[in-house]
Amino acid sequence: MSTELNLTLQVWRQPGPDAPGSFVTYEAKGIPDDSSFLEMLDIVNENLIERDVEPIEFPHDCREGICGTCGVMINGRAHGQEKATATCQLHMRKFNDGDTIVIEPWRAAAFPVIKDLIVDRSPMDKIIASGGYIYAPTGTAGEANETLVPKEAAESAMDAAACIGCGACIAACPNSAGQLFTSAKLWHLNSLPQGQPERFQRVESMVHTMEQFFGACTNHGECAEACPKEISLDFIAYMNADYMKSKIKNRAKSAQI
């Protein structure tokens, strides 16, 4: 049978994008240790509603660690202290009775707060729109098996493609850099045979878009530490290498025209 925890929460409350925010303290009593972190917030919210206090707004949807919607700073760490665990996958049995837990939204200039713990992450979609795809209009594709993809290449692409786009990497970075997110998408596409024709165009435009919104990477590695899917720092190195090459390749290409 599960045991129950009594906790103190310090939660960032901010009524709207332009309103000032502050920490508010709540007691979370009788939390079953089988519940997930988000179910703990559900219970707190039910109690708040009972007392006519507006519930805490927090981001979530699938609660299975795959949609990338959830994500808050828990005691100063993106998605909390558990390795390779999204906020929704974190369970209360990892906490102790009597703990104080500080809960904040993602902190990054490019992620303005919408309300309480919910931020606007739309710049990540803009990076994808600027080149994070293979242009293959519907109907044009040939038989899939005509292009062989070595098993290792497919596995490596999959390692990168596992990114859930939650933004923890950016929130964890002291510079709010977007390198881990961007490089994961780049390696997913650039490492596959299908991704070769647009490879250098892709890296140049995605990196430029990334730089419009996010800070510079100074190799802290906090991003990979925070990543719920353990996306590797290696991808950043590959991205940098491709970006260097793109400067020559893309120039050579435009000279040919």
Binding site: D61, R63, I66, H91, G132, I134, A141, A144
Partner: protein
């Protein structure tokens, strides 16, 4: 009302070709003069938006998520079917068609299913070109596996994250069109009304979830690709926000709702741990390939699983179904789990699960082999339950997972409202009374990539030269007022209980009476209980905050209100259909062996329900008779 399915005549093999030849096309240079609204950016919506934009249409894509990539399709694990016969094991378009019609227990439209099987191969080609990292063999060819009891290996997969990878593929393809300005993306927008002018769809009204702004959008055609309604059960494997509002609002405006009682309960989910549980997690069905399902024979068992001797274990699927054993179809596996739990043989602290035990497989193949096959699933299980499935059997129990019912659509995927289309899980089209594993992803992408982009031209071509209706037209103003009034009404109730409380209470009724086993008394009771709770809800629900900022309680309360009405219709549909078929098990209609017993004489039809103007007047049923020319009707048996 006559339901015209518009199924083309002639041999089924040529139907789709002939149909494409016969429908009206829109000239390429004219396509840009048409505006299309697509609500939903899951597999069905994203693939439709991308393809329609590539064809030249002006597309407006809407989602309530903050990014299109978060649609619930992202969570699909197992894989996607296609009839490529790449294992040389006898698969074919006809076999996929046949299996799907049979699996759906003869309650789907043959021509639609045939078309689905025909385009299935194009989906894999398209997705591979898009960069989806499908699993590969060492030689670099595509790998595939057998899934959900299929006798051929036709399921393509990307680790345990097939839905994620397919959705990212479709999303990226759509984002390329966003970059080109061909798709205008509207995130954080919840569609709350479909707007009709002279009986035809003219647009939608949305609410901006970040600031409450209510706006009208007009178009020549509207596509709803808004997913399924499995969350009517409250606890389900669906994402928290999945809901019925988009299709329910369309239903209230006149779109017929087909087979609402056809829902799928997935047998392998982690059982509920406590009252506060918010959702149930699916454990991939592939686990049944190696796990053995059992419960203790005794109802008073208290020992740990390991300490219970073989003779005192009841491997009920293996005993009852020697041929299929643990691999019986989902509905059969689910119902049998319920039977043993109801009999008091359940396991776990709440006695609400059955064991899925890997000890035999580990003994036979070694721990490493099992780890390689299921490592990530075992890890996920341990994370949630705190128990190690290598040493303690998993506990599983069925949960609501997928809804076969949805808006009635014809062969063109058009609803009974002209110019309003439905795609993906939101329509009722291809799965009959039960969906086979790995077929939902296939259907969503078939609709969005290869069906809708052609069929939509048929209704559009007649509108050439017309502008979309102005959004200051009275029909839009009226719909906006309805949305605003409803918001105010919720905020003004000032009751005592949260929307979640009412959702939970509704879910209990739906699960109890419209779940795995249904009977006349229970369904009649469900109708009156849901009515009562709906009345209480409208007097007593409490929504704090306001309508002009992000307010998730307000989002939720509208969805729960629609679930209440849908739940009642599900009960009516289930009551009316006094036969068993697929996922719909009427206890009064079973074989001597306890299997679902169809009644083809009276129920070989689609039940499509028409709204009668208010929630207190029951809907009227219309029938679409089904013909089976290619797949012979027979009783399913898995003994």
């Amino acid at each position: 009302m006559i339901l015209d399915s518009k199924v083309p005549s002639g041999p089924i093999q040529d139907a789709w070709d002939n149909h494409r030849f016969n429908i009206q096309l829109v000239n390429p240079s004219n396509k840009r003069r048409f505006k299309i609204i697509v609500v939903g950016t899951g597999l069905a919506g994203a693939s439709a938006s991308a393809t329609l934009a590539e064809l030249g249409y002006e597309v407006h894509a809407f989602t309530y998520h903050d990014s299109p990539r978060r649609a619930h399709s992202i969570a699909a694990q197992g894989g996607i079917n296609a009839a490529k016969n790449s294992r040389n094991d006898g698969d074919s378009v006809f076999r996929l068609f046949y299996d799907t019609v049979k699996g759906g227990d003869y309650r789907s439209r043959e021509a639609n299913v045939y078309r689905l099987a025909q385009v299935s191969n194009n989906i894999i080609d398209q997705m591979t070109a898009q960069g989806v990292p499908f699993a590969r063999e060492y030689g670099g060819l595509m790998a595939n596996r057998s899934f959900g009891g299929a006798q051929v290996s036709r399921t393509f997969y990307a680790r345990g994250q097939t839905g994620q990878q397919l959705l990212l593929g479709a999303y990226q393809q759509m984002m390329a069109q966003v970059n080109l300005g061909k798709v205008k993306l509207h995130t954080d927008q919840e569609m709350l009304e479909v707007v009709l002018k002279d009986g035809e769809a003219a647009g939608i009204v949305t609410r901006d979830l970040t600031n409450g702004q209510v706006r009208s959008h007009s178009a020549h055609a509207v596509v709803l690709a808004t997913g399924g309604y499995g969350n009517v059960f409250y606890l389900s494997t669906n994402a928290m926000a999945c809901n019925t509002t988009a299709i329910w609002r369309a239903h209230r405006k006149g779109a017929l709702f087909a087979n609402p009682c056809y829902t799928q309960i997935h047998p392998t989910c982690i059982p509920q741990a406590d009252e506060f549980q918010s959702k149930l997690t699916l454990m991939s069905e592939s686990l049944r390939n190696d796990g053995r399902i059992w419960v203790p024979r005794s109802t008073t068992e208290t020992r740990r699983a390991r300490d219970i001797p073989e003779a005192e274990r009841y491997y009920y699927l293996e005993e009852k179904y020697p041929a299929f054993g643990n691999l019986v179809p989902r509905d059969v596996a689910s119902r049998n789990a319920k039977t043993v739990v109801d009999a008091g043989q359940g396991v776990g602290p709440l006695k609400n699960g059955v064991y899925l035990d890997f000890a035999t497989a580990i003994g036979r193949d070694g721990r490493d082999a099992i780890e390689e096959r299921y490592g990530n699933l075992f890890e996920m299980y341990e994370r949630i339950t705190g128990e190690d499935p290598y040493t303690t059997p998993m506990r599983i129990y069925p949960a609501s997972h997928y809804t076969m019912g949805g808006l009635w659509v014809d062969y063109n995927l058009q609803t009974t409202i002209p110019s309003l289309y439905a795609a993906g899980e939101a329509n009722f089209s291809d799965h009959g009374a039960n969906r086979l594993g790995a077929s939902a992803l296939m259907q969503g992408l078939a609709d969005g990539y290869f069906v809708l982009p052609y069929t939509i031209g048929d209704s559009l071509s007649a509108k050439l030269g017309t502008e979309p209706l102005a959004t200051d037209d009275p029909v839009f103003k009226e719909a906006e007022k309805d949305v605003n009034d409803r918001t105010q009404r919720f905020l003004n109730i000032g009751g005592t209980k949260s929307p979640d409380y009412y959702h939970r209470e509704l879910g209990k009724i739906v699960w109890e009476h419209i779940g795995m086993g249904r009977n006349e008394a229970g369904l009649t009771q469900a109708i009156s209980e849901i009515k009562a709770i709906r009345e209480a809800f409208w007097k007593d629900v409490k929504v704090l905050g306001n309508g002009d900022s992000l307010n998730s309680s307000l989002e939720k309360v509208g969805r729960v209100a629609d679930f209440m009405e849908l739940g009642e219709l599900m009960a009516r549909d289930a009551l009316d259909r006094s036969e068993s078929c697929g996922g719909h098990f009427r206890e009064e209609s079973q074989t001597d062996e306890g299997e679902a017993l169809r009644n083809d004489d009276d129920f070989k039809h689609v039940s499509a329900w028409e709204w009668q103007g208010d929630a207190d007047t029951p809907q009227i049923k219309h029938k679409e008779e089904l013909e089976f020319e290619y797949v012979k009707l027979s009783q399913r048996s898995y003994k």
